[in-house]
Amino acid sequence: MVSKSKTPKAAVAKAYYPPAERVKAHPKRGEQPHIILKKSLTPGTIVVLLCGRERGRRCIFLKQLDSGHALVCGPKSLNRVPLMPIYQTYLNSTSTKIQLNDSVKNAIADINFSTFKKVPIPKDEKSEFLSETKHKKKRMSPNIDADLLSKIDEGLVASAKSTFKDQTESELLVKYLKTKFSLHGDQYPHLLKF
């Protein structure tokens, strides 16, 4: 009798081969990952704006909005930088920090990204020589009372003035907020310490 050699079972093709690594599920639209702020950005940090109309201006970082943007304000009376949201990549934080007044903290507490709406630039700000059709630019403007805005402004100026015990230092800090950041010929940004 011929010995029946054991023939190996023919490999059956499986219907499903699981992947070697488990693929992580993409976050759903509603559950975006929380945007992590740079460590140097704490409420009251003085920050340099890098982009936009007000580039080079030194202003005060107030808080992070729910959308991940950073809420920043000049104050407007010193700087002409209004209360506005910016993304943190367009900010260069310095190591100078201001203690925010309680009035400012309370006023800011309710502000979210949704309080800002795109509003067309008012006619007075545009030059007479620009035609309306060409310059239909819009700007993000907060939907807040003018009173509250001026309160925030005043509160910020007061906080800035009370940061240092020495009065000359505080005056210099106010002048610092008014001045634009600029680079001289022998200053290299990668070597500067902020």
Binding site: F181, L192, K193
Partner: protein
């Protein structure tokens, strides 16, 4: 310019780059055309500390006017330490113009943005005062 300064045993030099950057060294012996055997001094510690005895290239050294004349070639590091301490050389080094300009460069490199603004502002105020005085002098 002051008197000529030579490479010799006991000459104190400032090392500006390389492994021993920003340190003082005392030449103990010359190895060859390019380097010398030196005792490397930690200039910023309260008590004179000798970090080690190593070859240091002449290209990285800047000779200072200080020289420990009592030092003999290849004497022990402890003797260098003692002589440095006795001569008060580090204190004298810190009073030289060279050290002060190095120190000034360091502080300027480490300035905060606010501090940099204060320097700019001070310079502006100074030039305003100078121009005012100059105007007054021109009128007179």
């Amino acid at each position: 310019m002051s008197e000529k300064v030579y490479v010799e045993t006991g000459r104190v030099a400032y090392v500006d780059h390389g492994k021993y950057a920003d340190k003082l060294c005392v030449i103990v012996n010359v190895i060859d055309q390019n380097k010398a055997l030196c005792d490397i001094v930690d200039a910023y510690s309260k008590v004179v500390k000798i970090v080690g005895r190593r070859p240091v290239g002449f290209k990285t050294m800047h000779l200072t006017k200080f020289r420990i004349s009592k030092l003999l070639h290849n004497s022990h590091s402890n003797y260098t330490k003692k002589l440095l301490h006795d001569g008060g050389i580090i204190k004298r080094w810190m009073q030289t113009k060279y050290f002060k300009s190095l120190d000034r460069k360091k502080t300027r490199a480490n300035l905060n943005d606010f501090e940099r603004f204060k320097v700019e502002y001070a310079k502006k105020q100074r030039s305003i005062l100078i121009s005012k005085k100059l105007k007054a002098m021109k009128k007179a």
